[in-house]
């Protein structure tokens, strides 16, 4: 067997490719589902928290800042293990995909809040005053004048952050969420061959290279020069 044949046999064995692609495909579906859920709830929660913070209620803002700082400083895997293995002993049993979804949503919400908040604070005071003097209420000014600009400003920095957090769905394998990496490592343990792992890596690349490329495009497209 030549080195090349051995390489192919180890990482791209045709029989295994044929046998395991349905499992990997199933994993891709789970990854996409969780990713979509995380992006939706994470961004929505981040936007809600940033809007709430604009009302400048002291106690509420302190809580928001603590939440944001903790989830920016804490490795997601620590939170995942803590909730998944710790909560059952106080009577809270959450399915593994719920734990993964919650933790990643909180992490994304923390980063999104910070980015949207930066957008809100960078809106010139004159805009607030002008909007209020036309008769808009505080909430209307926030919703119709300030937030649209804050969101637009936030798009480039948020895109890369969102992609990075979405990739963390792979952490779900540690608690047995049936996503791509979990399918791949399970298959690998049955076969004693690295092909399923390689398939898993390729599945991620197939899913995420277009997203990364899209992120690059969004970054230049939305780059907004404020005079």
């Amino acid at each position: 067997m030549t080195a090349w044949e051995r390489f192919v046999d180890t990482f791209f064995k045709p029989a295994m490719l044929a046998q395991y692609w349905p499992d990997i495909l199933k994993g891709m579906l789970v990854t996409v589902e969780i990713a979509a859920a995380v992006v939706t709830t994470g961004l929505a929660l981040g936007l809600a928290l940033a809007s709430l913070r604009a009302y400048r209620l002291l106690a509420v803002n302190a809580l928001i800042v603590v939440f944001v700082d903790v989830f920016r400083a804490l490795p997601p895997l620590v939170a995942i293990l803590l909730i998944y293995f710790g909560f059952p002993s106080i009577g809270i049993n959450l399915p593994s995909f719920v734990v993964l979804w919650l933790v990643l949503s909180f992490v994304l919400a923390a980063f999104a809040e910070e980015i949207f908040w930066a957008g809100i604070t960078s809106t010139p005071k004159g805009q607030w005053e002008a909007a209020r003097s036309t008769g808009l209420s505080f909430s209307q000014t926030l919703a119709y004048v300030v937030m649209p600009q804050a969101v637009r400003l936030g798009v480039p920095p948020l895109t890369n952050r969102t992609i990075a957090i979405t990739k963390n769905t792979a952490l779900g394998t540690v608690i047995g969420v049936g996503e791509i990496l979990n399918q791949a490592t399970t298959a690998q343990s049955f076969t004693g061959n690295a092909t399923p792992l390689m398939m898993g890596a390729i599945a991620y690349i197939v899913l995420f290279v277009p997203v990364v490329a899209l992120g690059r495009w969004i970054e230049t497209r939305f780059a907004w020069r404020r005079a």
């Binding site: 700082d69 002993s89 990739k167």
Partner: protein, 222 residues
């Protein structure tokens, strides 16, 4: 309430596992001291290659960066640690972790450096070269200092991410902080060690998180 305190904030258990966690923390810091400089150096190399005059080199660098930004680091790590032995290559956990982190972090740092270098005006290059500085000198003394200053918030923020990321090394039994805490959890049947580990991460990284917020505001004010 007592059950919650006993399960998550059991000081007796925290005290007992403290030495173990401290050793884990030491290993985490050691790992950071390996992967952060490696990533910073690799990132600079990638950024320079992606600005090469040779089209093929530029494309290869960008393709590599996008590839490693698309693959989750845990996937890279498991592929290297569990996949390579089938090809007869056995990596120690330390080497596997360093290699996986190198691929991942140099891509991220590389993108940041690239943005920084691009933020320095073309005129600076021309002016520096016309004073007689060579290209490497221009890069080292004129362009990089400004580039790094412009993207300092991103560099620090990415470094925080790298420190947090070291926790995935626990998956390949690398005895860092999370691995020690999780082992203590399974020995004591109590989650307090993991809470303690979480507190240690937050205490270490919180000042850096604040620093990033302040740096971001300062750069935005420019």
């Amino acid at each position: 309430m007592d059950a919650i305190l006993d399960q998550f904030l059991n000081f007796a258990i925290m005290q007992k596992v403290w030495p173990l966690l401290l050793r884990g923390l030491g290993t985490t810091l050691y790992l950071c001291a390996l992967v952060i400089p490696l990533g910073l150096a690799g990132g600079l190399l990638v950024a320079l290659l992606s600005r090469s005059k040779r089209r093929a080199v530029t494309w290869a660098a960008i393709a590599l960066v996008d590839l490693f930004r698309a693959a989750p680091p845990l996937v890279l790590l498991i592929l290297l640690y569990s996949g390579l032995p089938f090809a007869g290559i056995n990596l120690s956990p330390t080497v596997a972790v360093c290699l996986a982190f190198f691929c991942n972090t140099s891509s991220y740092y590389g993108e940041i450096y690239r943005a920084g270098i691009e933020s320095v005006g073309r005129g600076q290059w021309e002016a520096a070269r016309s004073t007689g500085l060579s290209a490497p000198q221009t890069l080292a003394y004129v362009v990089l200092p400004q580039a790094v200053r412009n993207v300092l918030p991103d560099l620090v923020s990415n470094t925080i991410e790298v420190v947090k990321l070291t926790s995935i090394a626990s998956v390949v039994s690398f005895p860092e902080l999370l691995y020690s805490a999780d082992m203590a959890r399974s020995l004591t049947f109590n989650s307090s060690p993991v809470v303690l580990a979480a507190l240690i991460y937050v205490v270490i990284l919180w000042p850096l998180v604040r620093l990033v917020s302040r740096l971001e505001r300062r750069v935005a004010a420019h």
